[in-house]
């Protein structure tokens, strides 16, 4: 501070500055908090995973109509398959070489298959595993996976993309992020995706909540 300055004028200047500071701080606080709330879906989602689940529950999205093939080598498209049978589908994403999280997803699907069989819900709920590793998952690999998982073809289907170029579009549409892991494996966010007949992705549910997924699918089935 200048030695020759007038203390009264200094105090006045400081007080004016203080109001400016309070205004600027309040503005920074309001803008900052608004940005944080906007980014987190009003404080509901702090991870990408919860955000995509919140967004899908609020506004269901149409899945892309990509060319696929099954273990028998039959070609079709994703929406055609989903439209077949007028069922609600519980969809998960796999690669057949997977030893880690897909194994637990596989056992979740096995349990769901048992429940669907036991309660005779074949006409209402279907299970669909989609491979995101089209380069590797040929019809033969899918067949081996189907046998290993003891899939009941009336309930549980496994398909792969016919064109590896569609992989990005598939993953983006469902909000899956795949990252390479050691030993040629992948790590990815895993969940149960509920898709209705016309190909609308309506809910994403944690794979620990298989029962909730089944009940939600039943409630959504026509």
């Amino acid at each position: 501070m200048d030695k020759n300055s007038n203390p009264a004028a200094d105090a006045r200047a400081a007080a004016t500055g203080l109001w400016k500071t309070f205004a600027a701080s309040a503005a920074a606080m309001v803008i900052g908090l608004a940005c944080l709330l906007q980014a987190t879906a009003q404080g509901n989602a702090f991870t990408t995973e919860t955000l995509r689940r919140t967004e899908v529950a609020d506004a269901p999205t149409l899945v892309p109509d990509l060319a696929i093939h099954d273990a028998a080598g039959n070609s079709s498209t994703l929406r055609q398959l989903l439209a077949g049978g007028g069922r609600v589908w519980i969809v998960d994403f796999v690669y057949t070489r997977c030893q880690t999280v897909c194994t637990s997803l596989g056992s979740v699907f096995q349990k769901l298959q048992q429940q669907i069989q036991a309660r005779g819900l074949e006409g209402q709920v279907g299970l669909l595993s989609v491979s995101f590793d089209p380069a590797h998952d040929t019809a033969d690999s899918l067949g081996a996976y189907r046998d290993r998982m003891r899939m009941d073809p009336a309930i549980w289907r496994v398909v792969s993309l016919s064109s590896p170029l569609d992989r990005r579009e598939l993953l983006d549409a469902f909000g899956i992020m795949v990252i390479p892991a050691p030993l040629g494996e992948f790590e990815h966010n895993a969940a149960l995706h509920l898709v209705t007949g016309p190909g609308m992705l309506v809910r994403i549910i944690d794979y620990d909540d298989a029962t909730l997924a089944l009940e939600t699918a039943l409630a959504a089935s026509p």
Binding site: T21, S25, A28, M29, M177, I179, H188
Partner: protein, 202 residues
Amino acid sequence: MSGGPWQRPSLWIGLTLCVLGSALSVPPWRSLIEQSMVWHMVVQMPMLVAGGWLLAGSGIKGLGMQRFADWNQYGLTGFIASQLIAAYWMLPLAIDRAVVLPQADALKLVSLLACGAMLKASFDRSPAVLQLFFVGYAVAMLSSAGVFLATTDRRLCNAYSLDSQWDAGSGVVALGIALGCAWAWRLFRDTRRARSPMLKPH
């Protein structure tokens, strides 16, 4: 300190940190932050904040934000703004977005450099008590977020493996501790200078 700003080491170290921090967002170095949460959260982000801090303190006209001094008495505005920026970049979804979207990554570079510069401007204008309030809050935020990242079994970032997240969590705790220590060191240094009769006669 003597000489023009171009003779000060803080300017050159600051510039180096800014360049290195920004380079981590550009291929081929980008793969480091894409594959490792530690490189992203514990190396790149603090590097940018430190770079912004040093550039703001380098004496280059305008970078010290003296023009905004009236709006930043006691450093209050700068503290609030930088705290909010830091909080945003600790959100797992913000970290994911910076990995996936180049626009979000560019926003990260700019906002964290600004965060560092604002912190420097605010530190220079604030009494130790106010610094303690904000530094204490930042240390608490970093260490609790770090412990959570390091101990949870949930993968919080879709872009990173659980192993990478655990390592980053430990790193964030270390950052929190380092920040607290750096602040305490600075306070001791300034107190000693202030008491020294050579510099400030009472």
